[in-house]
């Protein structure tokens, strides 16, 4: 396939601090003990999309990512890691590497996407429809797939404040209108002429943009060039394309085609028929309006079915959710094979007596647990040393973490090289790399990091 893939891997996102740092850029953040970026790259490899440009914000982060990619994907993918300056936005990052794009179609994927929707399917849809842009849309996690126990109350409270509104045509292939993040308080307005043109449209508020797009290169480059102010693909480039698809092209030849078409109708004496509306076929839209909509400028959508997993890792909450899902419900994403107890305990790890590891857990190589520990629905990284009577529930513990006796960790993220001294209690906390939690301290819903 003549596709070039651009992976927008981000840099060291503010939103995810203290989890990400200079040493661990977002792309390398471990999700179920694998770097985040590997999910996207494996997916691309599975779709046989092997020409990649990984765009990383910041020189240092790019070096780290480059080193990891070249070791992990040597001989598997042709990856070029490019560093761009920070705070360009997604469209800005694309603009910065625009010169490197040569293939006919460009697949843009966000590096923080964890999904099992094959990019190849999106690419194929894009090709089949001859679209200018195809966007992957997935269901909005209404109340989170599996957090029924943990945070259902919370979700209900935060659910109705923003809506993404997607308007599709009858066949659900074409995007007619897209508004992301409108206020729920606002009524939805749809231009009448659009309805008149298509006859029937579907308004969905349960879909969201998954940040996976296939673009026609020429169109993408034109837009990036013309609209220098555009910073975001989702908020600016895509809506612009969708908006302009029904508009006549002021300079192009689209209008002349239309006129001759009309003249043909007029001259062939079909006016009487037209007057009685007898010639207007129900499918007129697909053949007429869209196919002649100015030189193949069509915006399509690929809608992932509800059963597909599709989430972006762009907040701490989503980090916890995705970790839990990857070892839980969506375990096929992790690429590991789970044991009969639905967990993975690396053979090199050492467990003390009466220590239980529940289902939906991962215990990576070289970690040791003392006696009477209990681990539920959690991820424990490499070479951790965990004392006795430690409880870890719904949490992520990264590599080389030292947890002394009697600690309780719940709903928290503990980064590399953290030391938890005896009887520390953490609930819904994030502990930055190398931090030391002192003896007997209790923290709740805090974010701790080394100064």
């Amino acid at each position: 396939m003549d596709f070039q893939v651009v992976v927008l891997a981000g840099g060291t996102s503010e939103k995810l601090s203290p989890l990400v740092s200079k040493d661990v850029p977002k792309a390398l953040l471990p999700v179920a003990n694998r770097p985040l970026l590997s999910y996207a790259l494996d997916l691309l490899e599975a779709s046989d999309l092997k020409d990649l440009i990984v765009v990383v914000e910041g020189q240092e982060a790019a070096q780290l990512v480059g080193a990891w990619v070249s070791s992990a994907y040597l001989d598997r993918l042709r990856v070029e890691v490019v560093a761009v300056s920070e705070d360009l936005g997604s469209a800005g990052a694309l603009r910065a590497i625009s010169k490197r794009l040569t293939a006919n179609d460009i697949l843009v994927i966000s590096g923080d996407l964890v999904t099992d929707v094959l990019p190849g399917a999106v690419a194929a849809t894009h090709r089949r429809n001859g679209a200018a842009v195809t966007a992957l849309l997935c269901s909005v996690p209404v109340s989170g797939p599996s957090d029924s126990a943990s945070s259902s109350g919370k979700d209900k409270a935060k659910k109705p404040n923003r809506l993404n509104i997607v308007v599709l045509d009858k066949t659900k292939h074409f995007l007619l209108h897209i508004v992301s993040g409108t206020d729920v308080e606002k009524d939805v307005r749809v231009h009448k002429r659009k309805i008149q043109a298509v006859g029937q449209m579907e308004i969905r508020s349960d879909l969201m943009d998954a940040h996976l797009y296939a673009f026609k290169r020429t169109i993408l480059q034109d837009i990036l060039e013309q609209k220098e102010a555009y910073r975001s693909i989702r908020l600016e480039v895509l809506p612009h394309l969708v908006r302009s698809q029904l508009r006549s092209d002021p300079s192009g030849n689209g209008t002349t085609v239309e006129e001759t078409g009309n003249n043909a109708v007029l001259s062939s004496g079909n006016l009487q028929c037209l007057a009685q509306h007898r010639v207007i076929a129900p499918s007129a839209f697909n053949q007429d309006v869209l196919s002649r909509s100015r030189g193949g400028h069509r915006c399509c959508a690929y809608i992932a079915t509800k059963s597909k997993y599709c989430h972006r890792l762009n907040s701490i909450q989503s980090y916890c959710d995705i970790n839990r899902d990857v070892i839980g419900e969506a375990s096929h994403l992790s690429g590991y094979s789970f044991s009969a107890q639905n967990n993975i305990i690396h053979p090199s790890s050492v467990l003390g007596s009466k220590t239980t590891i529940g289902p939906h857990c991962i215990l990576a190589e070289g970690s040791q647990l003392g006696d009477k520990c209990s681990v539920k629905r959690s991820v424990i990284g490499r070479h951790c040393r965990i004392g006795s009577s430690v409880k870890i529930v719904n949490s992520v513990v990264m590599n080389h973490v030292v947890i002394e006796d009697g600690c309780h960790i719940q709903g928290s993220v503990v980064c590399n090289n953290v030391q938890l001294q005896e009887r520390a209690v953490l609930k819904d906390c994030q502990i930055g790399a190398g931090y030391i939690v002192t003896t007997g301290s209790e923290h709740k819903a805090e974010s701790l990091a080394r100064k």
Binding site: H191, K192, I203, D206, A229, P250, E258, Q272, A275, H277
Partner: protein, 737 residues
């Protein structure tokens, strides 16, 4: 039989119904139907002054006959016919046709419910409620609906839904039909409908039936969207006006006594005000036919459908005609009764029906038309796309196209009926008289104020002018409405005999400009072209206010285009106004008023007006003139003399005069090139009639001096004149000294 059974079983225990061993037993009480034999609109005036709409023949059979036949075939056990206007005629018909009093097993019992003060469907349903005759779910339909659909699925759906959700009170039947992008109406002449439907449950969430293009947007309430993550917005559906209702609907009408119109008040009320959480669902008709005759265009369309057998089994040769021998289907959809006297040289074209005892003379041509019973058609008559009812006499050499001609009309030799006309009962048209397009003629005068016995337009179903009070517009036109019986504008005086016996009605509320939308005549070509232009003009003026993005650069260019458009629209309107004035009638002062009104509406300058008026005058001269330059010059002169007062109204300053000159130049270059050779000759004329002063001409010449060569063509043409002006001016100066 089945009823008896269920009653005897019912005594045993109501709960036993769920254990249905026989399907009939599980069925609730007999299926009832409410048929509104009154449409509560004025669309079929003037015919409906004399006969109720439901009794008007549609391909030889009264409309109500189709509706009743369908109801019976759909398994309705009991029908209530609500009649209001001309109720005695409806009842008489029901008796005569054998509907009333028919109460055998397997047939439908028909009961007439009469009321004289109902003025809307809402009133009718309240009357029905008061009678207390409706016991279960019922089919609500109006007597002008033609259908052959099977009600079974829709009924079943309705029942099932009601079991689950007692608030589902109504199931609306809808049908796919894509309205024209140009005219925004369906092939039935109805305005397009916008509705939102939940694709899963088929619940109706939004309904808008006005083709009001002033609202560019469909606005969907936020609550609807938060409650229904997916909804389908339809513009390609047609409302069949067949509803399956629960008894709650009647009590809702009674509770909300201000509900009049079924759709506009009831449906809107339930959807918007969310009364008690009642819901309306839809059922899409995928096979079968259903259409309501709402206006003359749908009368035409449905008639054609009947002839083309879409409504089978309700087609001319299957449904027996009571008073005549049966007609037989020939090739190409021609139905001719067996006792028709047809001249050998007469031609009957495709899709035509000729009723019995009708005679058609030599060299006649009948195309796409329906001719009733007992008509006498002379020689050399041409009938195209028209509906001629019973006992009509058409003498030799008449020409009737796309019109509706009622019983007993007499067209004398050589009369011409132009498209879109409606001749009501017993109207006579004199020799060689032309009935102009879209005219409505009746023996009865146009009512000038409310007469409560007749059908009232309470909430006019679909016309675009719903906001105006129903009768004021008619009253205002009433001044000129009553035309004495011997008058017609189109030169009837030569014939000596009277022109038309009857009153020519002025078009009521819709106005002459809207007449094309709902008449039998096909939409005129010019209109379509105009609409086409309007559509392509509108292209690209997409609004983006709903987006979070700042305005794009290319939008500014859009607005420029819009501006141009704006002026050209204004010019077009001025031209139309002007042409109306030319056609006679409009007073000059009124014309000035109207143009001023337009100017304000488009917020333009005086100068633009001057240009537009000048343009219209020249255009009119061009239309009147033949091809040669001399006549053109002459007519232009005449037109200018005639309208110079009007023009002077707008040429108060030199700027406006300049505008006229520039406009003239532009016309010569672009739109009406015919004037270009005459520019130099017309210019002095403009000066002579004092439309433009010498100052303006000189300034114009000055301004053009620096322009391109191509722009200077006309300055050069009139060089002599300008030279003369300059000299004259100098002389003047000298004189003053």
């Amino acid at each position: 039989m089945s009823q008896k059974k269920s009653r005897s079983r019912g005594g045993g225990g109501g709960a036993a119904a769920s254990g249905d061993d026989h399907e009939d037993l599980a069925r609730p009480p007999p299926l009832q139907a409410v048929l509104l034999a009154d449409s509560f609109t004025l669309k079929f005036r003037p015919i409906t002054l004399e006969r109720p709409k439901v009794l008007l023949p549609l391909v030889h059979m009264p409309m109500i006959e189709y509706t009743l036949t369908w109801l019976e075939s759909a398994g309705v056990d009991e029908a209530f016919v609500f009649c209001c206007a001309h109720s005695h005629q409806v009842k008489e018909y029901l008796d005569k046709a054998g509907w009333a009093g028919k109460a055998g097993a397997g047939s439908m019992a028909v009961t007439a419910v009469e009321s004289h003060d109902a003025i809307s469907a809402g009133d009718a349903l309240r009357v029905i409620y008061d009678r207390g005759v409706i016991r279960g779910d019922f089919v609500l339909i109006s007597g002008d609906t033609i259908s052959n659909m099977s009600l079974k699925d829709a009924l079943q759906e309705h029942m099932d839904r009601k079991k689950k959700d007692p608030f589902a009170v109504m199931t609306m039947i809808i049908k796919h039909s894509k309205p024209s992008i140009l005219t925004h109406q369906t092939r039935l002449g109805n305005d397009e409908i916008t509705m939102a439907i939940d694709p899963e449950t088929k619940e109706l969430l939004y309904y808008e039936d006005r083709a009001d293009n002033s609202h560019l947007y469909v606005t969907i309430d936020k609550d609807i969207l938060t409650n229904n993550p997916t909804l389908q917005l339809h513009n390609d559906m047609e409302d069949c006006y067949i509803d399956i209702c629960s008894p709650e609907v009647l009590s809702l009408f009674t509770d909300n006594f201000d509900y009049q119109h079924l759709r506009r008040h009831f449906v809107k009320g339930l959807l918007v005000d969310d009364i008690m959480g009642y819901k309306i669902y839809t059922h899409e008709l995928r096979s079968g036919y259903a259409a309501r005759i709402d206006n003359f265009r749908s009368y035409d369309t449905v008639s054609k459908d009947v002839i083309q057998r879409w409504t089978y089994p309700m087609v001319p040769d299957v449904v027996s005609n009571r008073d005549c021998s049966e007609s037989r289907l020939r090739r190409q959809g021609i139905y001719v009764a067996s006792d028709v006297t047809l001249s050998h040289s007469a031609q009957i074209g495709a899709n035509s029906v000729v009723g019995s005892a009708t005679s058609i003379g030599d060299n006649c041509k009948v195309l796409n038309s329906v001719i009733g019973v007992g008509c006498k058609i002379g020689k050399n008559v041409f009938i195209n796309g028209s509906y001629i009812w019973d006992h009509v006499i058409i003498e030799d050499g008449c020409k009737v196209s796309n019109s509706l001609i009622c019983d007993g009309v007499h067209l004398r030799a050589g009369a011409i009926v132009e498209p879109g006309s409606v001749l009501s009962f017993k109207v006579e048209v004199g020799k060689n008289v032309t009935v102009p397009a879209h005219s409505k003629v009746s023996l009865l005068p146009q009512p000038s104020n409310e007469d409560s016995d007749e059908e009232l337009e309470y909430a006019d179903t679909n016309s675009g002018v719903t906001d105006s009070p129903p009768f004021s517009s008619m009253r205002s036109s009433g001044d000129q409405a009553i035309v004495p019986s011997e008058e017609d504008e189109s030169g009837t005086s030569e014939t000596g005999t009277c022109g038309v016996v009857g009153y020519i009605w002025t078009s009521a509320d819709t106005g002459i400009l809207e007449e094309w939308r709902q008449s039998i005549a096909p939409i005129p070509k010019e209109k379509l072209e105009e609409l086409e232009r309007a559509v392509s003009d509108e292209d690209g003026s997409e609004d983006e206010s709903n987006n979070l993005i700042l305005q794009d650069k290319d939008d500014s260019s859009d607005s420029v285009v819009e501006d141009d458009d704006h002026i050209s629209k204004f010019e077009k309107e001025v031209e139309e106004t002007f042409q109306r004035a030319m056609g006679g009638g409009v007073n000059r002062d009124n014309l000035i008023l109207e143009i001023n009104g337009l100017r304000l509406a488009y917020s333009l300058q005086h100068a633009d007006c001057a240009g537009a008026v000048f343009y219209s005058i020249m255009k009119s001269a061009l239309v009147a003139a033949q091809s040669t330059n001399n006549t053109l010059l002459k007519t232009t002169g005449e037109a200018l003399v005639k309208w110079k007062d009007l023009l002077r109204n707008y040429t108060k300053t030199v700027d406006e005069e300049m505008e006229i000159l520039l406009k003239f130049e532009e016309m010569c270059q672009e739109t009406t090139k015919e004037f270009s050779p005459l520019f130099a000759k017309i210019l002095p004329f403009l000066y002579d009639t004092e439309v433009v002063t010498e100052d303006a001409i000189l300034r114009w010449a000055e301004e053009k001096e620096n322009a391109d060569e191509s722009d200077k063509v006309f300055v050069k043409q009139s060089e002599d004149f300008i030279q003369w002006l300059k000299e004259a001016e100098e002389e003047d100066d000298e004189d003053e000294e």
